[in-house]
């Protein structure tokens, strides 16, 4: 049935809907605006469902083929979830008076969809930069000093990634003359590495990851809900497109999965904790792409699909708490169960889904990646990924709900009077529905994956294994609860190098070169340069007086003396002597001429 929908040759770019919508949105008001906010994403979702396979919207610019609409199974599964997520996110932010967040968010969604349909590197790069520009607006729209700074850091880091990508694209073009975006061609290692670094930075692979918790913890409530879905998953899509089966991605992905888990223990900010778990979860996808078998690629795509739903659900739940209470730190929260029970239930569903509880969405997707690792005999990878999934439950399934809604009898502040606005709850309910629906009916997801699926998550052994790991993790959590009590601390991460490092660099510039200037250069001036200059000036003065003046004065003296000798003869001063002289000269000349004529 799905296949028949995508037959034919129909194409209209869904990103264009979002861009046009973003242009119209600031000019409409009231209920029309609310309907519009839901209608545009819904329309794009419907559009994605009926796009035809193939390449569309090709233009030629300066001899280079630009393809805006390459539609295949891999791009469709990502476009589908991107559009579904935009429905949920737009509904979640509908109550906002601030239209600009929606405008930025739609620009962001459009860029992500543009990336998924891009058939060449140039249009990919165009939308790739669009992602960065629109998402930083979602950080800056928070309007705090902290978000302003975080936004600038975000732009700087992503500019670096974008430049790596662009450099790779240039090298690729000059080496091969081809810019089509597909599996990376052999024989251009430098281009491949640069492009991969660009992709890995957006996928938040350590050590290129610190922008993620930094920005997502500082963005607006609605902004972080959107951001948690698109940037990293677009990167996963591009990796799956270009670098499927690159072995280096397996250890990177496994390291990511564990890195996020470790840092989540140290984190006291709710949204930053969830951000570290994005890194952890994207690790599964990166590892799946690296394994590169059909099963693993399917797993990476399925996990991206499920991840967007449960991670946005978690960000929505925690975001509601931030919006209602104005607090985001575990050490300042607790005891909210009486006041925000529905938010608790939805967040818990998100937590159970990300932890891969049977009958929730993570179970049917994450296990595909791990099964891919087992199937490929990568025992260490499978085992470490399983270990990371225990850590995921520990934090997102247990720590987040426990320390926000329980831990204290009453909240340590005036309790909120009501739950989050109805539209936030409705958006969470839709995401929660999809989390459970995917878990119970995995074929809905499996039928969309790029390759045919021959995988059955619900075997007795697998369900048993999952329950054992998760529930015994829970046992460990409650036994070690004392160790996990939140404290007002932060864990240093790679961003230290550019946040503290830049300060240290400036301090270094102020101290070391300035000190060298003050002490050494100043002394050098006094002890070496000035005496040298004085010596030179003395020498030049001596040369001037003795040599130059001597020469000039001496020659003037000689001229004077010579002229004094000649004066009595040349200038005698009386007319008779001049006349005598002239006659003598004339007589001598005539005599000489006569003598010459005679001989």
């Amino acid at each position: 049935m799905i296949e028949s929908l995508h037959a034919g040759s129909f194409f209209f770019h869904p990103a264009l809907l979002f861009f046009l919508g973003a242009c119209i949105l600031p000019f409409i008001k009231g209920w029309v605006r609310n309907v519009f906010i839901i209608a545009v994403p819904l329309l794009s979702l419907a559009l994605v469902m009926v796009l035809s396979y193939g390449t569309h919207w090709q233009v030629q610019i300066a001899g280079v083929d630009i393809t805006f609409g390459r539609v295949d199974r891999l791009s469709l599964v990502f476009a589908h979830i991107f559009c579904l997520m935009s429905v949920i996110g737009s509904l979640y932010g509908m109550h906002l008076k601030d239209n600009w967040q929606h405008v930025a968010a739609w620009g962001y969604v459009g860029s992500a969809i543009g990336c998924t349909f891009a058939g060449d590197y140039l249009s990919l790069f165009l939308f790739w930069e669009g992602l960065m520009i629109t998402s930083v607006c979602l950080v800056w729209l928070r309007g705090t000093e902290e978000s302003l700074r975080a936004g600038y850091r975000y732009v700087l880091v992503h500019t670096f990634g974008g430049l790596c990508l662009l450099a790779g694209i240039f090298i690729l073009y000059f080496k091969t003359g081809d810019l089509s975006f597909g599996p990376m061609v052999e024989g251009v290692p430098v281009a491949a590495w640069l492009i991969m670094i660009g992709f890995l930075l957006n996928a938040a692979v350590p050590p290129l990851h610190a922008w993620l918790p930094d920005a997502y913890g500082s963005a607006t409530v609605v902004g972080s809900v959107f951001m948690c879905a698109y940037t990293t998953k677009t990167a996963v899509y591009t990796l799956a497109r270009a670098f499927a089966g690159y072995d280096i991605l397996i250890p990177l992905g496994v390291a990511m999965a564990l890195y996020g888990v470790v840092y989540a223990v140290l984190e006291n900010d709710t949204r930053r904790l969830l951000s570290y778990h994005i890194i952890s979860q994207v690790g599964y996808m990166v590892a799946g792409v690296g394994i590169g078998t059909e099963m693993a690629i399917n797993g990476a795509c399925a996990h991206a699909y499920a991840h967007i739903l449960y991670k946005s659900l978690l960000f929505m739940g925690v975001g509601s708490v931030v919006a209602v209470t104005g607090r985001s730190k575990f050490s300042e929260l607790g005891g909210l169960w009486k006041y925000m029970p529905w938010t608790f239930v939805f967040t818990l569903i998100g937590g159970l889904s990300i932890s891969a509880f049977p009958f929730f969405s993570g179970f049917v997707s994450k296990s595909m990646v791990i099964a891919g690792a087992w199937q490929d005999h990568l025992m260490w990878a499978g085992l470490l990924l399983t270990l990371a999934s225990a850590g995921t439950f520990l934090h997102t399934g247990l720590k987040v709900p426990y320390f926000i809604w329980f831990n204290r009898e009453e909240p340590p502040f005036t309790p909120p009077k009501s739950e989050a606005p109805w539209n936030m709850l409705a958006a969470m309910a839709i995401a929660a529905y999809f989390c459970i629906m995917l878990g119970c009916n995995p074929n809905f997801l499996y039928s969309m994956l790029p390759y045919p699926v021959d995988y059955h998550p619900y075997t007795a052994a697998h369900v048993m294994e999952s329950y054992q790991i998760l529930l015994f993790t829970m046992l460990g959590f409650f036994l070690l609860l004392g160790k996990l009590k939140p404290k007002a601390l932060i864990g240093l991460d790679i961003d230290w190098f550019y946040r503290k490092g830049s300060v240290k660099f400036m301090a270094f510039c102020r101290n070391v070169p300035a000190a060298i200037d003050n002490t050494f250069i100043t002394n050098l001036h006094k002890t070496v340069a000035l005496p040298l200059l004085r010596f030179c000036s003395r020498m030049s003065s001596w040369h001037d007086t003795k040599v130059v003046d001597g020469f000039v004065d001496g020659s003037a003296d000689r001229v004077l003396r010579l002229s004094r000798y000649l004066r009595p003869f040349a200038q005698p001063g009386s007319l008779s002597k001049y006349l005598a002289g002239m006659l003598t000269f004339l007589a001598t000349t005539v005599l000489a001429a006569v003598t010459l004529a005679l001989y």
Partner: protein, 93 residues
């Protein structure tokens, strides 16, 4: 409705704990009877392996992370903000 359920559970903590422990024991006992088709690893052969794995994983993650934190990584949460406010001061401590 949800508040009432949670309040009831919180009021019967002992009962909740007994049920939880029963479930944990039930999981290990149940593992003895689960059919295994394609054993990939020890966990697919030894009953209760994954229970131990989950518990040890949880304990290891907490202890190692906490150790990393206290030994190297923890700073007061004003660490960067103090620095942002007065950029000329260099490091806070």
């Amino acid at each position: 409705m949800i508040v009432r359920i949670i309040a009831w559970l919180r009021g019967h903590m002992f009962f909740v704990k007994i049920v939880c422990i029963a479930v944990l024991i039930g999981l290990i006992v149940g593992d003895l009877f689960v059919p295994r088709h394609h054993p990939h690893f020890l966990g697919d052969i030894i009953p209760g392996f994954w229970a131990g794995f989950g518990f040890i994983a949880c304990v290891l993650i907490i202890i190692i992370s906490k150790w990393l934190g206290t030994a190297f990584l923890f700073r007061p949460d004003t660490y960067y903000s103090a620095n942002d406010a007065k950029p000329s001061e260099g490091e806070m401590k």
